[in-house]
Protein backbone atom coordinates (compact mmCIF):
# COMPACT_ATOMS: atom_id res chain seq x y z
CA UNK A 1 0.00 0.00 0.00
CA UNK A 2 1.59 3.23 -1.14
CA UNK A 3 1.39 6.15 1.22
CA UNK A 4 0.72 9.30 -0.80
CA UNK A 5 0.11 11.52 2.21
CA UNK A 6 2.01 14.75 2.63
CA UNK A 7 2.63 16.62 5.84
CA UNK A 8 2.84 20.35 5.22
CA UNK A 9 3.46 20.90 8.94
CA UNK A 10 0.28 22.87 9.51
CA UNK A 11 -1.96 20.49 7.57
CA UNK A 12 -1.78 16.91 6.44
CA UNK A 13 -2.89 16.17 2.87
CA UNK A 14 -3.98 12.70 1.77
CA UNK A 15 -1.93 13.17 -1.36
CA UNK A 16 0.08 15.96 -3.02
CA UNK A 17 -2.56 16.80 -5.65
CA UNK A 18 -4.55 19.98 -5.04
CA UNK A 19 -7.04 21.51 -7.48
CA UNK A 20 -5.94 25.03 -8.31
CA UNK A 21 -7.94 28.21 -7.92
CA UNK A 22 -9.73 29.63 -10.94
CA UNK A 23 -9.85 26.34 -12.80
CA UNK A 24 -11.96 24.32 -10.41
CA UNK A 25 -14.88 26.66 -9.82
CA UNK A 26 -16.05 26.31 -6.23
CA UNK A 27 -15.23 22.58 -6.33
CA UNK A 28 -18.79 21.23 -6.40
CA UNK A 29 -18.93 21.61 -10.20
CA UNK A 30 -16.55 18.64 -10.42
CA UNK A 31 -18.64 16.30 -8.26
CA UNK A 32 -20.38 14.80 -11.35
CA UNK A 33 -16.99 13.83 -12.79
CA UNK A 34 -14.81 12.72 -9.89
CA UNK A 35 -14.92 11.69 -6.25
CA UNK A 36 -13.82 14.92 -4.55
CA UNK A 37 -12.87 12.87 -1.46
CA UNK A 38 -9.89 11.54 -3.39
CA UNK A 39 -8.21 14.92 -3.74
CA UNK A 40 -5.37 16.18 -1.57
CA UNK A 41 -7.15 19.50 -1.50
CA UNK A 42 -9.28 22.01 -3.36
CA UNK A 43 -8.42 25.68 -3.71
CA UNK A 44 -11.71 27.37 -4.49
CA UNK A 45 -12.04 30.29 -6.89
CA UNK A 46 -10.65 33.60 -5.62
CA UNK A 47 -12.93 35.46 -3.21
CA UNK A 48 -13.11 39.17 -2.65
CA UNK A 49 -15.25 40.42 0.20
CA UNK A 50 -18.07 41.48 -2.16
CA UNK A 51 -19.24 39.89 -5.41
CA UNK A 52 -16.95 40.89 -8.27
CA UNK A 53 -18.12 41.52 -11.86
CA UNK A 54 -14.91 40.46 -13.67
CA UNK A 55 -13.54 41.73 -16.99
CA UNK A 56 -15.36 42.21 -20.32
CA UNK A 57 -14.95 39.43 -22.91
CA UNK A 58 -13.17 38.01 -24.73
CA UNK A 59 -11.43 36.75 -21.62
CA UNK A 60 -9.51 33.85 -23.11
CA UNK A 61 -7.09 33.29 -25.93
CA UNK A 62 -5.22 30.10 -26.60
CA UNK A 63 -1.44 30.10 -27.03
CA UNK A 64 0.90 27.27 -28.01
CA UNK A 65 0.25 24.66 -25.29
CA UNK A 66 -1.04 27.41 -23.09
CA UNK A 67 -4.02 29.55 -22.20
CA UNK A 68 -4.02 33.31 -21.69
CA UNK A 69 -6.87 34.43 -19.47
CA UNK A 70 -8.14 37.79 -18.30
CA UNK A 71 -11.18 36.64 -16.34
CA UNK A 72 -10.54 39.25 -13.66
CA UNK A 73 -11.62 37.20 -10.65
CA UNK A 74 -15.38 37.36 -11.24
CA UNK A 75 -16.91 35.78 -8.19
CA UNK A 76 -19.67 35.53 -5.62
CA UNK A 77 -18.03 37.17 -2.58
CA UNK A 78 -17.65 35.76 0.94
CA UNK A 79 -21.28 35.91 2.06
CA UNK A 80 -22.76 33.81 -0.72
CA UNK A 81 -19.77 31.45 -0.56
CA UNK A 82 -20.27 30.88 3.17
CA UNK A 83 -24.02 30.50 2.98
CA UNK A 84 -24.51 28.50 -0.20
CA UNK A 85 -21.28 26.80 -1.22
CA UNK A 86 -19.21 26.03 1.87
CA UNK A 87 -21.93 23.95 3.61
CA UNK A 88 -21.90 21.60 0.60
CA UNK A 89 -18.15 21.63 0.16
CA UNK A 90 -17.32 20.82 3.76
CA UNK A 91 -19.18 17.50 3.44
CA UNK A 92 -16.22 16.20 1.47
CA UNK A 93 -13.19 14.72 3.14
CA UNK A 94 -10.55 16.88 1.48
CA UNK A 95 -8.65 20.01 2.48
CA UNK A 96 -10.67 23.06 1.47
CA UNK A 97 -8.40 26.03 0.85
CA UNK A 98 -9.91 29.41 0.07
CA UNK A 99 -8.11 31.67 -2.38
CA UNK A 100 -8.32 35.14 -0.81
CA UNK A 101 -8.26 38.36 -2.84
CA UNK A 102 -8.33 42.05 -2.01
CA UNK A 103 -8.01 45.44 -3.62
CA UNK A 104 -6.14 46.69 -0.58
CA UNK A 105 -4.37 44.91 2.30
CA UNK A 106 -7.39 45.58 4.54
CA UNK A 107 -9.75 43.74 2.18
CA UNK A 108 -7.61 40.58 2.35
CA UNK A 109 -7.79 40.86 6.14
CA UNK A 110 -11.56 41.36 6.13
CA UNK A 111 -12.11 38.32 3.89
CA UNK A 112 -10.05 36.20 6.27
CA UNK A 113 -11.79 37.61 9.36
CA UNK A 114 -15.18 36.84 7.83
CA UNK A 115 -14.22 33.28 6.84
CA UNK A 116 -12.53 32.56 10.18
CA UNK A 117 -16.05 32.29 11.66
CA UNK A 118 -16.90 29.48 9.24
CA UNK A 119 -15.99 25.85 9.77
CA UNK A 120 -14.56 23.51 7.18
CA UNK A 121 -11.67 25.57 5.82
CA UNK A 122 -8.15 24.16 6.18
CA UNK A 123 -6.11 27.17 5.05
CA UNK A 124 -6.15 30.38 3.06
CA UNK A 125 -4.22 30.90 -0.12
CA UNK A 126 -3.38 34.58 -0.42
CA UNK A 127 -3.81 35.66 -4.00
CA UNK A 128 -1.42 38.60 -4.10
CA UNK A 129 -0.40 37.79 -7.65
CA UNK A 130 -3.35 37.96 -10.05
CA UNK A 131 -2.18 39.90 -13.12
CA UNK A 132 -5.69 40.69 -14.37
CA UNK A 133 -7.21 43.05 -11.86
CA UNK A 134 -4.98 46.11 -11.79
CA UNK A 135 -3.40 48.17 -14.55
CA UNK A 136 -0.46 46.49 -16.32
CA UNK A 137 -0.60 43.42 -14.10
CA UNK A 138 0.41 45.28 -10.95
CA UNK A 139 -0.09 43.24 -7.76
CA UNK A 140 1.46 43.07 -4.27
CA UNK A 141 3.62 40.04 -5.17
CA UNK A 142 5.77 42.11 -7.54
CA UNK A 143 7.62 43.70 -4.67
CA UNK A 144 9.10 42.40 -1.38
CA UNK A 145 7.77 45.33 0.68
CA UNK A 146 4.16 45.13 -0.56
CA UNK A 147 4.32 41.35 -0.13
CA UNK A 148 5.52 41.72 3.45
CA UNK A 149 2.86 44.29 4.22
CA UNK A 150 -0.15 42.22 3.09
CA UNK A 151 1.12 38.87 4.36
CA UNK A 152 1.91 40.20 7.84
CA UNK A 153 -1.47 41.92 8.12
CA UNK A 154 -3.38 38.80 7.03
CA UNK A 155 -1.29 36.57 9.30
CA UNK A 156 -2.28 38.75 12.25
CA UNK A 157 -5.97 38.63 11.22
CA UNK A 158 -6.19 34.90 10.61
CA UNK A 159 -6.60 31.94 12.91
CA UNK A 160 -5.77 29.58 10.05
CA UNK A 161 -2.59 28.78 8.12
CA UNK A 162 -1.68 31.04 5.21
CA UNK A 163 -0.27 29.92 1.86
CA UNK A 164 1.04 32.87 -0.13
CA UNK A 165 0.69 32.55 -3.90
CA UNK A 166 3.55 34.29 -5.67
CA UNK A 167 3.86 35.94 -9.07
CA UNK A 168 6.38 34.79 -11.67
CA UNK A 169 6.56 38.30 -13.12
CA UNK A 170 9.54 39.34 -11.03
CA UNK A 171 13.31 39.43 -11.40
CA UNK A 172 14.12 37.35 -8.32
CA UNK A 173 11.25 35.26 -6.99
CA UNK A 174 13.35 33.96 -4.08
CA UNK A 175 13.60 37.50 -2.73
CA UNK A 176 9.79 37.79 -2.65
CA UNK A 177 9.52 34.28 -1.16
CA UNK A 178 11.89 35.24 1.67
CA UNK A 179 9.88 38.38 2.30
CA UNK A 180 6.64 36.38 2.58
CA UNK A 181 8.36 33.91 4.91
CA UNK A 182 9.60 36.72 7.10
CA UNK A 183 6.06 38.12 7.22
CA UNK A 184 4.89 34.80 8.65
CA UNK A 185 3.34 32.87 5.79
CA UNK A 186 3.06 29.15 6.56
CA UNK A 187 3.71 28.04 2.99
CA UNK A 188 4.21 29.34 -0.53
CA UNK A 189 2.49 28.41 -3.77
CA UNK A 190 4.41 29.05 -6.99
CA UNK A 191 3.16 30.51 -9.27
CA UNK A 192 0.27 32.55 -10.53
CA UNK A 193 0.09 33.17 -14.30
CA UNK A 194 2.72 34.86 -16.47
CA UNK A 195 1.77 38.30 -17.79
CA UNK A 196 1.17 37.77 -21.51
CA UNK A 197 -0.65 39.13 -24.56
CA UNK A 198 -1.89 38.22 -28.03
CA UNK A 199 -2.55 40.39 -31.10
CA UNK A 200 -5.27 40.15 -33.74
CA UNK A 201 -3.33 40.90 -36.95
CA UNK A 202 -6.48 41.73 -38.94
CA UNK A 203 -7.68 44.46 -36.60
CA UNK A 204 -4.19 45.15 -35.14
CA UNK A 205 -5.83 45.20 -31.73
CA UNK A 206 -4.96 43.17 -28.66
CA UNK A 207 -7.14 40.04 -28.59
CA UNK A 208 -7.99 40.69 -24.95
CA UNK A 209 -9.73 44.02 -24.22
CA UNK A 210 -7.66 43.97 -21.05
CA UNK A 211 -4.56 43.94 -23.37
CA UNK A 212 -2.70 41.66 -20.98
CA UNK A 213 -3.73 38.33 -19.54
CA UNK A 214 -2.10 35.55 -17.58
CA UNK A 215 -0.49 32.57 -19.33
CA UNK A 216 -0.99 29.13 -17.80
CA UNK A 217 -0.73 25.52 -18.97
CA UNK A 218 2.07 23.20 -20.08
CA UNK A 219 3.89 26.08 -21.80
CA UNK A 220 4.96 27.51 -18.42
CA UNK A 221 5.99 24.30 -16.65
CA UNK A 222 9.76 24.48 -17.30
CA UNK A 223 9.84 28.09 -16.10
CA UNK A 224 7.95 27.30 -12.91
CA UNK A 225 10.03 24.22 -12.15
CA UNK A 226 13.10 26.42 -12.27
CA UNK A 227 11.46 28.92 -9.90
CA UNK A 228 10.35 26.22 -7.47
CA UNK A 229 13.85 24.80 -7.42
CA UNK A 230 15.35 28.25 -6.81
CA UNK A 231 12.92 28.96 -3.97
CA UNK A 232 13.01 25.62 -2.08
CA UNK A 233 16.74 26.03 -1.70
CA UNK A 234 16.28 29.39 0.00
CA UNK A 235 13.22 29.05 2.27
CA UNK A 236 12.36 26.85 5.26
CA UNK A 237 8.60 26.66 4.65
CA UNK A 238 6.81 24.22 2.30
CA UNK A 239 6.46 25.14 -1.35
CA UNK A 240 3.58 24.05 -3.60
CA UNK A 241 4.30 23.96 -7.34
CA UNK A 242 1.69 25.29 -9.80
CA UNK A 243 2.15 25.40 -13.55
CA UNK A 244 1.33 23.03 -16.36
CA UNK A 245 0.73 19.89 -14.34
CA UNK A 246 -1.15 17.66 -16.79
CA UNK A 247 0.17 14.26 -15.78
CA UNK A 248 1.73 12.33 -12.89
CA UNK A 249 5.10 12.82 -14.58
CA UNK A 250 4.68 16.60 -14.40
CA UNK A 251 3.73 16.35 -10.72
CA UNK A 252 6.75 14.14 -10.02
CA UNK A 253 9.11 16.66 -11.62
CA UNK A 254 7.88 19.24 -9.12
CA UNK A 255 8.13 16.86 -6.15
CA UNK A 256 11.63 15.70 -7.05
CA UNK A 257 12.65 19.36 -7.44
CA UNK A 258 11.49 20.03 -3.89
CA UNK A 259 7.81 20.99 -4.00
CA UNK A 260 5.80 19.29 -1.23
CA UNK A 261 2.65 19.29 -3.35
CA UNK A 262 1.32 20.52 -6.67
CA UNK A 263 -1.75 22.39 -7.77
CA UNK A 264 -3.45 21.24 -10.95
CA UNK A 265 -5.00 24.11 -12.90
CA UNK A 266 -5.55 24.36 -16.63
CA UNK A 267 -5.66 20.55 -16.94
CA UNK A 268 -9.05 20.58 -15.17
CA UNK A 269 -10.58 22.55 -18.03
CA UNK A 270 -9.50 20.02 -20.63
CA UNK A 271 -10.06 16.88 -18.60
CA UNK A 272 -12.39 17.15 -15.60
CA UNK A 273 -10.91 13.88 -14.30
CA UNK A 274 -7.29 15.13 -14.54
CA UNK A 275 -6.66 15.39 -10.77
CA UNK A 276 -7.75 11.82 -10.07
CA UNK A 277 -5.79 10.47 -13.03
CA UNK A 278 -2.67 12.22 -11.71
CA UNK A 279 -3.19 10.73 -8.23
CA UNK A 280 -3.56 7.25 -9.76
CA UNK A 281 -0.43 7.89 -11.82
CA UNK A 282 1.55 8.77 -8.69
CA UNK A 283 0.49 5.52 -7.02
CA UNK A 284 1.53 3.61 -10.11
CA UNK A 285 4.94 5.32 -10.20
CA UNK A 286 5.56 4.58 -6.53
CA UNK A 287 4.59 0.93 -6.92
CA UNK A 288 6.77 0.51 -9.99
CA UNK A 289 9.75 2.09 -8.28
CA UNK A 290 9.35 0.44 -4.87
CA UNK A 291 8.53 3.71 -3.11
CA UNK A 292 6.43 3.16 0.02
CA UNK A 293 6.00 6.76 0.97
CA UNK A 294 5.82 9.50 -1.66
CA UNK A 295 7.27 12.04 0.78
CA UNK A 296 10.59 10.21 0.43
CA UNK A 297 11.09 11.51 -3.11
CA UNK A 298 10.56 15.19 -2.31
CA UNK A 299 13.67 17.23 -3.02
CA UNK A 300 15.71 14.27 -4.21
CA UNK A 301 16.98 15.86 -7.42
CA UNK A 302 20.43 14.43 -8.15
CA UNK A 303 23.02 16.96 -9.22
CA UNK A 304 25.85 14.60 -10.08
Amino acid sequence: MTDLSIDLGFIKLKNPVIASSGTFGYGLEFAPFIDLNKLGGIVVKGLYFSPRPGNPPPRLVEAASGLINAVGLQGVGVKKFSEEILPELRKYNTAVIVNVCGERDEEYASVVEFLDKEEGISAYELNISCPNVDKDGVCPALNPETTFSVVSLVKKSSSRPIITKLSPNVTDIAEIALSAQEAGTDALSLVNTFLAMAVDVETRKPVLPNVFGGLSGPAIKPLVLRMVYQVVNRVKIPVIGIGGVLSAKDALEYLISGAKAVEVGTANLIDPEATVKIIDGLTEYCQKNGINKIESIIGTLKRS
Binding site: F24, G25, P32
Partner: protein
Protein backbone atom coordinates in the same frame (compact mmCIF):
# COMPACT_ATOMS: atom_id res chain seq x y z
CA UNK B 1 -25.71 14.03 -16.71
CA UNK B 2 -22.62 15.56 -18.31
CA UNK B 3 -19.92 13.00 -18.92
CA UNK B 4 -16.58 12.63 -20.59
CA UNK B 5 -16.71 9.78 -23.08
CA UNK B 6 -15.27 8.34 -26.26
CA UNK B 7 -17.25 8.49 -29.49
CA UNK B 8 -16.36 6.95 -32.79
CA UNK B 9 -16.82 8.87 -36.04
CA UNK B 10 -19.22 6.66 -37.98
CA UNK B 11 -19.84 8.91 -40.98
CA UNK B 12 -18.22 11.97 -42.49
CA UNK B 13 -19.33 14.33 -45.25
CA UNK B 14 -17.69 17.49 -46.48
CA UNK B 15 -18.32 20.45 -48.77
CA UNK B 16 -15.29 22.72 -49.33
CA UNK B 17 -14.36 23.64 -45.76
CA UNK B 18 -17.65 22.58 -44.15
CA UNK B 19 -17.84 19.20 -42.42
CA UNK B 20 -20.58 16.97 -41.07
CA UNK B 21 -19.51 14.21 -38.64
CA UNK B 22 -21.75 11.51 -37.23
CA UNK B 23 -20.54 10.43 -33.78
CA UNK B 24 -21.69 7.27 -32.07
CA UNK B 25 -22.89 8.21 -28.60
CA UNK B 26 -26.16 6.64 -27.47
CA UNK B 27 -25.85 8.38 -24.09
CA UNK B 28 -25.69 11.90 -25.53
CA UNK B 29 -28.23 11.07 -28.24
CA UNK B 30 -30.73 10.07 -25.55
CA UNK B 31 -30.20 13.18 -23.46
CA UNK B 32 -29.60 15.95 -25.98
CA UNK B 33 -31.91 18.92 -26.56
CA UNK B 34 -31.64 21.34 -29.48
CA UNK B 35 -29.20 24.16 -28.76
CA UNK B 36 -27.04 22.06 -26.47
CA UNK B 37 -23.42 21.45 -27.37
CA UNK B 38 -20.47 19.15 -26.80
CA UNK B 39 -16.79 19.92 -26.15
CA UNK B 40 -14.38 17.93 -28.30
CA UNK B 41 -10.77 17.29 -27.39
CA UNK B 42 -8.86 17.94 -30.58
CA UNK B 43 -5.58 16.29 -29.62
CA UNK B 44 -4.37 13.78 -27.04
CA UNK B 45 -1.34 16.04 -26.69
CA UNK B 46 -1.26 19.54 -25.22
CA UNK B 47 -1.51 21.34 -28.57
CA UNK B 48 -4.09 22.56 -29.35
CA UNK B 49 -4.72 22.69 -25.64
CA UNK B 50 -8.39 23.49 -25.12
CA UNK B 51 -11.42 21.52 -26.20
CA UNK B 52 -13.61 23.14 -28.86
CA UNK B 53 -17.38 23.63 -28.55
CA UNK B 54 -19.77 22.23 -31.21
CA UNK B 55 -23.54 22.51 -31.33
CA UNK B 56 -25.44 19.28 -31.69
CA UNK B 57 -26.66 19.41 -35.27
CA UNK B 58 -29.01 16.43 -35.17
CA UNK B 59 -29.49 13.10 -33.46
CA UNK B 60 -30.95 9.63 -33.87
CA UNK B 61 -31.19 6.76 -31.36
CA UNK B 62 -27.50 6.12 -31.03
CA UNK B 63 -25.61 8.99 -32.62
CA UNK B 64 -25.29 12.75 -32.86
CA UNK B 65 -24.09 14.91 -35.73
CA UNK B 66 -21.88 17.97 -35.59
CA UNK B 67 -21.59 20.46 -38.45
CA UNK B 68 -18.63 22.81 -38.57
CA UNK B 69 -16.54 25.06 -40.75
CA UNK B 70 -12.75 25.04 -40.62
CA UNK B 71 -11.94 28.35 -38.99
CA UNK B 72 -8.68 27.76 -37.15
CA UNK B 73 -6.16 25.19 -36.01
CA UNK B 74 -8.61 23.16 -33.90
CA UNK B 75 -11.25 22.73 -36.59
CA UNK B 76 -8.52 22.15 -39.19
CA UNK B 77 -7.12 19.19 -37.24
CA UNK B 78 -10.62 17.90 -36.50
CA UNK B 79 -11.54 18.06 -40.20
CA UNK B 80 -8.72 15.62 -40.96
CA UNK B 81 -10.11 12.90 -38.70
CA UNK B 82 -11.56 9.95 -40.55
CA UNK B 83 -14.36 7.44 -40.11
CA UNK B 84 -13.52 4.96 -37.30
CA UNK B 85 -11.36 7.55 -35.48
CA UNK B 86 -12.43 8.07 -31.89
CA UNK B 87 -13.05 11.48 -30.30
CA UNK B 88 -13.05 12.40 -26.62
CA UNK B 89 -16.29 14.32 -26.11
CA UNK B 90 -17.89 16.01 -23.14
CA UNK B 91 -21.61 16.62 -23.07
CA UNK B 92 -24.40 17.32 -23.52
CA UNK B 93 -23.68 20.84 -22.26
CA UNK B 94 -25.68 24.03 -21.85
CA UNK B 95 -29.41 24.59 -21.70
CA UNK B 96 -30.43 24.96 -25.33
CA UNK B 97 -33.64 26.22 -26.91
CA UNK B 98 -36.99 26.03 -25.16
CA UNK B 99 -39.19 23.92 -27.41
CA UNK B 100 -42.60 23.22 -26.01
CA UNK B 101 -46.06 22.04 -26.90
CA UNK B 102 -47.19 25.69 -26.72
CA UNK B 103 -45.88 26.09 -30.29
CA UNK B 104 -48.23 23.46 -31.68
CA UNK B 105 -49.91 24.70 -34.84
CA UNK B 106 -47.88 27.93 -34.71
CA UNK B 107 -45.64 29.37 -37.38
CA UNK B 108 -42.04 29.81 -36.25
CA UNK B 109 -38.76 30.89 -37.85
CA UNK B 110 -35.30 29.35 -37.52
CA UNK B 111 -32.72 31.76 -38.97
CA UNK B 112 -29.07 30.83 -39.34
CA UNK B 113 -26.03 32.29 -41.00
CA UNK B 114 -22.94 30.34 -42.10
CA UNK B 115 -21.83 27.73 -39.58
CA UNK B 116 -24.51 29.15 -37.25
CA UNK B 117 -27.00 26.91 -39.05
CA UNK B 118 -25.55 23.99 -37.06
CA UNK B 119 -28.02 23.78 -34.14
CA UNK B 120 -31.03 24.84 -36.22
CA UNK B 121 -31.51 21.54 -38.02
CA UNK B 122 -32.03 19.67 -34.74
CA UNK B 123 -34.20 22.55 -33.55
CA UNK B 124 -36.33 22.57 -36.71
CA UNK B 125 -36.89 18.82 -36.43
CA UNK B 126 -37.89 19.12 -32.79
CA UNK B 127 -40.21 22.06 -33.52
CA UNK B 128 -41.86 20.06 -36.32
CA UNK B 129 -42.33 17.08 -34.07
CA UNK B 130 -44.10 19.39 -31.59
CA UNK B 131 -46.47 20.39 -34.36
CA UNK B 132 -45.01 23.80 -35.23
CA UNK B 133 -44.73 24.93 -38.83
CA UNK B 134 -41.09 25.92 -39.37
CA UNK B 135 -39.74 28.37 -41.91
CA UNK B 136 -35.96 27.99 -42.16
CA UNK B 137 -33.91 31.04 -43.21
CA UNK B 138 -30.40 30.01 -44.22
CA UNK B 139 -27.78 32.49 -45.38
CA UNK B 140 -24.13 32.40 -46.42
CA UNK B 141 -21.54 34.43 -48.26
CA UNK B 142 -22.01 32.42 -51.44
CA UNK B 143 -23.74 29.27 -52.73
CA UNK B 144 -20.84 27.15 -51.44
CA UNK B 145 -21.51 28.47 -47.92
CA UNK B 146 -25.02 27.01 -47.69
CA UNK B 147 -24.17 23.32 -48.16
CA UNK B 148 -27.07 22.05 -46.04
CA UNK B 149 -29.65 23.54 -48.41
CA UNK B 150 -30.64 20.15 -49.88
CA UNK B 151 -30.74 18.53 -46.46
CA UNK B 152 -33.34 21.01 -45.20
CA UNK B 153 -35.30 20.74 -48.47
CA UNK B 154 -35.37 16.95 -48.42
CA UNK B 155 -36.79 17.06 -44.88
CA UNK B 156 -39.61 19.17 -46.23
CA UNK B 157 -38.82 22.37 -44.38
CA UNK B 158 -40.02 25.63 -45.89
CA UNK B 159 -36.58 26.98 -46.86
CA UNK B 160 -35.53 30.58 -47.58
CA UNK B 161 -31.94 31.01 -48.72
CA UNK B 162 -29.81 34.09 -49.17
CA UNK B 163 -26.25 34.70 -50.33
CA UNK B 164 -24.25 37.89 -49.86
CA UNK B 165 -23.06 37.73 -53.48
CA UNK B 166 -26.42 36.72 -54.96
CA UNK B 167 -25.10 33.39 -56.29
CA UNK B 168 -28.22 31.71 -54.89
CA UNK B 169 -31.53 32.91 -53.51
CA UNK B 170 -32.07 36.38 -52.04
CA UNK B 171 -29.09 38.68 -52.61
CA UNK B 172 -27.99 40.06 -49.27
CA UNK B 173 -27.90 39.09 -45.63
CA UNK B 174 -30.33 36.54 -44.22
CA UNK B 175 -31.41 39.14 -41.64
CA UNK B 176 -32.50 41.47 -44.47
CA UNK B 177 -34.35 38.63 -46.21
CA UNK B 178 -36.17 37.73 -43.01
CA UNK B 179 -37.02 41.37 -42.35
CA UNK B 180 -38.55 41.68 -45.85
CA UNK B 181 -40.54 38.44 -45.46
CA UNK B 182 -41.92 39.58 -42.10
CA UNK B 183 -43.98 42.10 -44.05
CA UNK B 184 -45.99 39.06 -45.24
CA UNK B 185 -46.31 36.96 -42.09
CA UNK B 186 -45.78 37.17 -38.34
CA UNK B 187 -44.23 34.12 -36.69
CA UNK B 188 -44.96 33.22 -33.06
CA UNK B 189 -41.26 33.00 -32.34
CA UNK B 190 -37.89 33.44 -34.01
CA UNK B 191 -34.91 31.22 -33.19
CA UNK B 192 -31.52 32.26 -34.47
CA UNK B 193 -27.84 31.40 -34.53
CA UNK B 194 -25.03 32.99 -36.52
CA UNK B 195 -22.70 35.99 -36.63
CA UNK B 196 -23.41 38.44 -33.83
CA UNK B 197 -24.10 41.29 -36.24
CA UNK B 198 -26.82 39.21 -37.92
CA UNK B 199 -28.43 38.20 -34.63
CA UNK B 200 -28.33 41.77 -33.41
CA UNK B 201 -30.27 42.96 -36.49
CA UNK B 202 -32.84 40.21 -36.08
CA UNK B 203 -33.25 41.03 -32.39
CA UNK B 204 -33.86 44.66 -33.27
CA UNK B 205 -36.70 44.13 -35.73
CA UNK B 206 -38.14 41.21 -33.77
CA UNK B 207 -38.40 43.51 -30.76
CA UNK B 208 -39.95 46.29 -32.89
CA UNK B 209 -42.54 43.85 -34.20
CA UNK B 210 -43.05 42.37 -30.76
CA UNK B 211 -42.02 38.88 -31.85
CA UNK B 212 -40.29 36.83 -29.13
CA UNK B 213 -36.83 35.71 -30.24
CA UNK B 214 -34.15 33.39 -28.91
CA UNK B 215 -30.49 33.45 -29.90
CA UNK B 216 -27.69 30.94 -29.51
CA UNK B 217 -24.53 32.87 -28.63
CA UNK B 218 -20.98 31.84 -29.43
CA UNK B 219 -17.76 32.38 -27.53
CA UNK B 220 -14.33 30.91 -27.05
CA UNK B 221 -14.74 28.47 -24.17
CA UNK B 222 -12.12 27.20 -21.75
CA UNK B 223 -14.07 24.33 -20.26
CA UNK B 224 -17.74 24.25 -21.36
CA UNK B 225 -19.04 23.28 -17.92
CA UNK B 226 -18.92 26.48 -15.92
CA UNK B 227 -15.62 26.47 -14.07
CA UNK B 228 -13.30 28.84 -15.96
CA UNK B 229 -15.65 31.84 -16.37
CA UNK B 230 -14.08 32.53 -19.77
CA UNK B 231 -17.14 32.53 -22.06
CA UNK B 232 -19.24 35.30 -20.52
CA UNK B 233 -21.64 37.63 -22.34
CA UNK B 234 -23.55 40.65 -21.01
CA UNK B 235 -26.93 39.36 -19.88
CA UNK B 236 -29.83 40.95 -18.03
CA UNK B 237 -30.60 38.69 -15.10
CA UNK B 238 -33.10 39.43 -12.34
CA UNK B 239 -33.18 43.04 -13.52
CA UNK B 240 -29.39 43.47 -13.36
CA UNK B 241 -26.77 43.37 -16.07
CA UNK B 242 -23.96 40.93 -15.45
CA UNK B 243 -21.36 38.78 -17.15
CA UNK B 244 -23.02 35.40 -17.47
CA UNK B 245 -21.33 32.14 -18.44
CA UNK B 246 -22.98 31.12 -21.69
CA UNK B 247 -21.76 27.51 -21.40
CA UNK B 248 -23.76 26.98 -18.25
CA UNK B 249 -26.73 29.35 -18.43
CA UNK B 250 -26.92 29.49 -22.24
CA UNK B 251 -25.81 29.39 -24.93
CA UNK B 252 -29.40 30.34 -25.77
CA UNK B 253 -30.84 33.59 -24.42
CA UNK B 254 -33.89 35.65 -25.37
CA UNK B 255 -33.64 39.06 -27.04
CA UNK B 256 -34.69 40.75 -23.80
CA UNK B 257 -31.93 39.07 -21.84
CA UNK B 258 -29.06 39.90 -24.19
CA UNK B 259 -27.41 43.32 -23.85
CA UNK B 260 -26.89 43.92 -27.54
CA UNK B 261 -24.91 47.13 -27.05
CA UNK B 262 -21.98 44.86 -26.25
CA UNK B 263 -21.92 43.84 -29.88
CA UNK B 264 -21.56 47.35 -31.28
CA UNK B 265 -17.80 47.48 -30.78
Amino acid sequence: MIKDSQAQIIDKKSWNNYYLFKLESPRIATQAHPGQFIMIRISDHPYPLLRRPFSIHSKDEKSIDIFFQVSGLGTDILSQKIVHDTLDILGPLGKGFQVGANLKGKEVVAAGGGRGIAPLYFLAQELSSHGASVKVFYGGKSLKDIPLKEKFESEGFDLYCSTDDGSFGFKGFISDYLKAELEKFTPSRIFSCGPEEMMKKIAKFATEKDIPADFSLESIMGCGFGVCWGCVKRIRKNGEEEWVKICEEGPVFSSEEIIWAEYEK
